[in-house]
């Protein structure tokens, strides 16, 4: 009798396991629905974990935003009071190109090709991880990580050459998830 119970118990465990597997295959990753910007904010935070900066002298880990002001509120909300590289995160908004100062990550959205060029020239000598919000030709122009538009094969494009030039080390894991763009792709 005990044996039979044990047998049934095993079957039950198996059934549960199979159910669990099925569950995980037809998975929905999250219980809640997030918006595109929340998703991007979460990516941005994680880029901070998978990229190495040479040294961060400032008191805070700074994420700058140029272009879409509304993104600030989403970013603040999403990141909360987390920290990166042992430092509290500070979020900065740059209303003009002139005001773009030293920061660790610069999120660039809604820019014209001209603005983009100017921004990239401005950041080219600094160890700033430039992240584009589906900005056209972002990586070709020398930006480092660009989110792709929806339903694209890759989540983002990465120009590792630019990153290396600016002394940033992008984790191989991150690299393997994005499409690698080099400056030679220009034409």
């Amino acid at each position: 009798m005990r044996l039979i119970i044990k047998k049934y118990y095993l079957i039950l465990v198996k059934v549960l396991f199979v159910l669990f597997l099925m569950q995980s295959f037809s998975y929905k990753v999250l219980a809640q629905q997030y918006t595109e910007h929340e998703l991007k904010a979460a990516y941005l935070y994680n880029f901070g974990k998978f990229v190495q900066w040479p040294s961060i002298s400032s008191k805070y880990f700074q994420i700058g935003v140029y272009g879409n002001k509304q993104f600030i509120s989403t970013l603040t909300r999403t990141i909360g009071d987390r920290s990166l590289n042992g430092k509290r995160i500070q979020i900065l908004y740059f209303p003009t190109i002139e005001e773009i100062s030293n920061c660790n990550i610069l999120f660039i959205s809604k820019v014209t090709p001209d603005e983009l060029k100017k921004i990239l020239i401005k950041t080219s000598e600094k160890s700033i991880l430039t992240v584009g919000d589906s900005v056209e030709d972002f990586c070709i122009e020398g930006g480092m990580i660009n989110f792709t538009s929806r339903n694209s094969k890759f989540r983002f494009y990465i120009n590792n050459y630019s990153a290396e030039k600016q002394k940033l080390i992008i984790s191989s894991k991150l690299l393997s998830l994005g499409k690698i763009i080099t400056n030679e792709n220009k034409f």
Binding site: Y27, V29, Y34, Y43, Q70, P113
Partner: protein, 758 residues
């Protein structure tokens, strides 16, 4: 015996040697061929591969390389099709799967679009993950587009121009004077150096072309034609100076181009400039430039010249026309409104195609239209230029003939385009408030409405109608605050394309010095503009005065304004506010979201390079982001005079009902789409009822109707703050003599507006 052995030995040896020599020569050939192929000397490689093919027929490798060599030649691409087809057919293990892509491209060039699409799909199926298939998707869409374009191919005659001696005039980049008396074009020599030729039109055809003499000081630098003034007296040149190209102008006299001067710096920058078109009145220059500040690649710009000869700053023609790819060869037609240009950035059937756009308002251009097959080919088509009578056009196509020359193409245009286009404008006496109006055209024979009427937005008051010829029409103009006006139009049976400009003026007539207007006048002015005889402009004035007692309508409007009681408005505001609160509550739950989950999942996915999870996240995310909508415009408190009405829709109800009929669904979705896509638009919802029954009940009913429309909008994702609600109870707009008029009163007016002077 010994001799025998020796004999056998000799024979074997000779066979061995022959074989060896043969295989050696095959090997040699293969090596040389591959060497040239790797050096991208495809024409040279092709010779060796063809030789190989004759020595070793049916060799898959050789066939593949021959096909690929042809594919890479400039003008023999099509020959590659047979070889690549052979390769793919016999390639059982798909070593040469790349051939699918090249064959697809060749099929496209050869107008075999379905085959091309098949081949591309096969390529995508076989390609490895690291092969980029992005370009392929765009070629497939080009093929699909080309299929449609070719289906509606134009009825035109295309010929290559010939001289009086029936010798084909070869060359590229043709420019003609407006009277079609002179043609200027270029020929390239083997070193790609361009020489400018010209020809004069004789009675029996073009004279033998001659070389245009050009000032020696200029001649050192590489140059090409950039354009010709409509009067044929001024030639524009693109002169390359180092890395930039600038536009110069010279006077044409006796087969020479003299007094060549560089154009104003408004036109020439430090980047590439070329391809000029000068308007008939010489006031506007259109040109193509690579300067910074554009949309990428070559963009088309406009420069105006005032009476003193001063140039304005160049204006980029805007994102409707300029793309991140190249836009070149502008040609402004003599009406100063229609612009032709070449581009590889718009919907093309292959390479550069020629497009047409119309200047509808100051600095505003209509969406460019591909001028269609067979003028546009799957190769590059460019340099479109037209004669003043609009009958003939000249252009270039990047295809060479059997002699290896480019030909100048000539199209006869006046066939098959016999529709009339009526463009018009409605003006009011008081230009500040252009009324909402609608035009209905009824074919008198069939008594049915004509579809091709583009009712304008009320801000510009412009409209467009396209009418088939040889018919009589009734035109009904319905303007808000004016009585309907009927006008008869007769379009005669005509052979060519006609344009008609029409102006409708609405004005109120005041009797004596009495302030109240008691009549109204609708004046219709037609300007028939026959583009075949553009020198003669016929003005036909049709004045129609329509008097009617106006005071009744006026008092009605007054009443409407007065019945807008504040209590009802507040009630409505309260209602819509409660809906806003509901939505806000659901927004609050958004704020309480757990971002830990999201951040951790992404971190884990990157850590394990699990792209599936990331993809899933992407799929689940709400992309139509609410964040960008946060800029709330205060539609509700905007002044009525600041509302510019874009479009409207009347929803009619059955008696005592506030349920929206399904038949309005389509129109509704159109509005929803419009409002969703344009964040600066507001919705004005105004409810009415008929006069049946109790006045108070009717008042409540009109309110319910408004609310049900509001709810429909909100349920489609339109934020409540964008709706401005009003209700008036019984409407007296239509006299309720017939049931139809009653039905008209049971309505909700939906008006989409934009706030101006915000």
């Amino acid at each position: 015996m010994k001799i025998h052995v020796f004999k056998y030995f000799l024979i074997t040896l000779s066979i061995f040697i022959i074989q060896n020599v043969y295989s050696q020569s095959v090997n040699e050939l293969q090596k040389t061929a591959k060497k040239h192929f790797d050096n991208k000397e495809f024409v040279k490689a092709l010779q060796y591969y063809l030789e190989l093919d004759s020595l070793k027929p049916n060799d898959l490798n050789t066939k593949y390389y021959i096909g690929t060599c042809y594919f890479n030649t400039k003008h023999q691409k099509i020959k590659g099709i047979a070889y690549l087809e052979y390769t793919i057919k016999h390639d059982s293990i798909n070593i040469y799967f790349n051939a699918n892509k090249n064959l697809g491209i060749l099929y496209h060039i050869n107008y075999q679009f379905d085959k091309a699409i098949n081949q591309f799909n096969k390529y995508i199926k076989l390609s490895k993950p690291y092969n980029s298939t992005e370009n392929i998707d765009s070629i497939i869409s080009i093929c699909n587009y080309a299929k449609n374009v070719i289906k509606d191919s134009l009825n035109t005659d295309i010929t290559n121009i010939e001289s009086i001696n029936n010798i084909k005039i070869f060359g590229q980049n043709p420019y003609i004077s407006a009277d079609e008396d002179f043609i200027y074009f270029t020929r390239k020599d083997s070193k790609e150096k361009e020489t400018i030729y010209y020809s004069h039109k004789q009675l029996s055809g073009w004279a033998e072309p001659r070389i245009l003499k050009i000032d020696k000081s200029i001649k050192k630098n590489p140059l090409s034609i950039a354009g010709l003034s409509p009067n044929g007296k001024q030639l524009f040149l693109t002169i390359t100076e180092g890395i930039k190209s600038n536009i110069y102008a010279g006077e044409l006299k006796d087969g020479a181009c003299l007094n060549i001067v560089k154009l104003n710096q408004a036109i020439n920058s430090n980047y590439w400039e070329g391809d000029v078109s000068l308007s008939l009145d010489s006031t506007s220059f259109y040109f193509s430039s690579k300067r910074i500040g554009g949309y990428g690649g070559k963009d088309i710009y406009k420069v105006s010249r005032n009476k003193n000869g001063d140039f304005s700053n160049p204006i980029n023609l805007g994102s409707e026309i300029n793309t991140k790819y190249d836009e070149t060869d502008p040609f402004i037609y003599y009406d100063n409104k229609t612009l032709y240009f070449s581009s590889n950035g718009h919907q093309t059937i292959g390479g550069f195609d020629i497009y047409r756009t119309i200047n509808t308002q100051k600095n505003f251009w209509s969406k460019p239209i591909n001028i269609g097959y067979p003028i546009n080919s799957t190769s590059d088509d460019f340099n479109f230029t037209m004669s003043r009578d609009g009958n003939t056009a000249y252009y270039s196509t990047n295809i060479i003939d059997e002699n290896g020359n480019y030909n100048i193409r000539n199209i006869t245009l006046n066939k098959g385009i016999n529709y009339s286009v009526i463009k018009g404008e409605i003006l009011t006496e008081d230009s500040l408030s252009s009324p909402n109006f609608r035009i209905i055209i009824i074919d008198k024979e069939t008594n049915q409405g004509i579809k091709n009427i583009y009712n304008p937005n009320s801000s510009t008051g412009k409209y467009l109608m396209i009418l088939p010829p040889n018919k009589k029409y009734d035109m009904i103009i319905e303007a808000e605050g004016y009585l309907p006006h009927i006008l008869s139009i007769h379009i005669p049976d005509q052979m060519s394309f006609y344009e008609l400009y029409q102006k409708i003026s609405l004005s109120k007539i005041k009797a004596n010095s009495n302030k109240e207007a008691n009549g109204q006048k609708i004046t219709v002015t037609n300007t028939f503009y026959d583009i075949n005889n553009s020198n003669e402009v016929d003005n036909i004035h049709i004045d129609t005065i329509y008097y009617k007692d106006y005071s009744k309508l006026l008092s009605l409007i007054e009443e409407l304004i007065e019945t807008t009681d504040t209590v009802a408005l507040e009630e409505l505001d309260r209602l819509s506010q409660s809906i806003i609160n509901n939505v806000n509550e659901s927004n609050n739950t958004l704020i309480a979201k757990n971002y830990n989950d999201l951040i951790n999942i992404i971190e884990k996915a990157i850590e394990t390079t699990d792209i599936l999870v990331l993809e899933q996240l992407d799929k689940e995310a709400k992309y139509d982001d609410e964040i960008s909508n946060n800029l709330e415009i205060d539609f509700k408190n905007s002044k009525l005079s600041n509302r510019k009405y874009i479009t409207n829709l009347n929803i009619f109800f059955t008696p005592d009902s506030y349920v929206i009929d399904n038949k309005f669904g389509k129109d509704f979705e159109r509005l929803v789409k419009l409002v969703k896509e344009n964040k600066d638009l507001g919705i004005e919802i105004t409810g009415y009822s008929d006069t049946q029954g109790n006045k108070e009940d009717n008042y409540a009913l009109s309110n319910k109707r408004v609310i049900s429309v509001l709810n429909t909008f909100v349920s489609r994702g339109i934020q409540p703050y964008r709706n401005v609600l009003r209700h008036f109870g019984e409407s007296k707009f239509a006299e309720e003599e017939t049931t139809k008029e009653k039905q008209f009163n049971r309505r909700v007016e939906i008006k989409i507006f934009k706030i101006i002077n915000r």
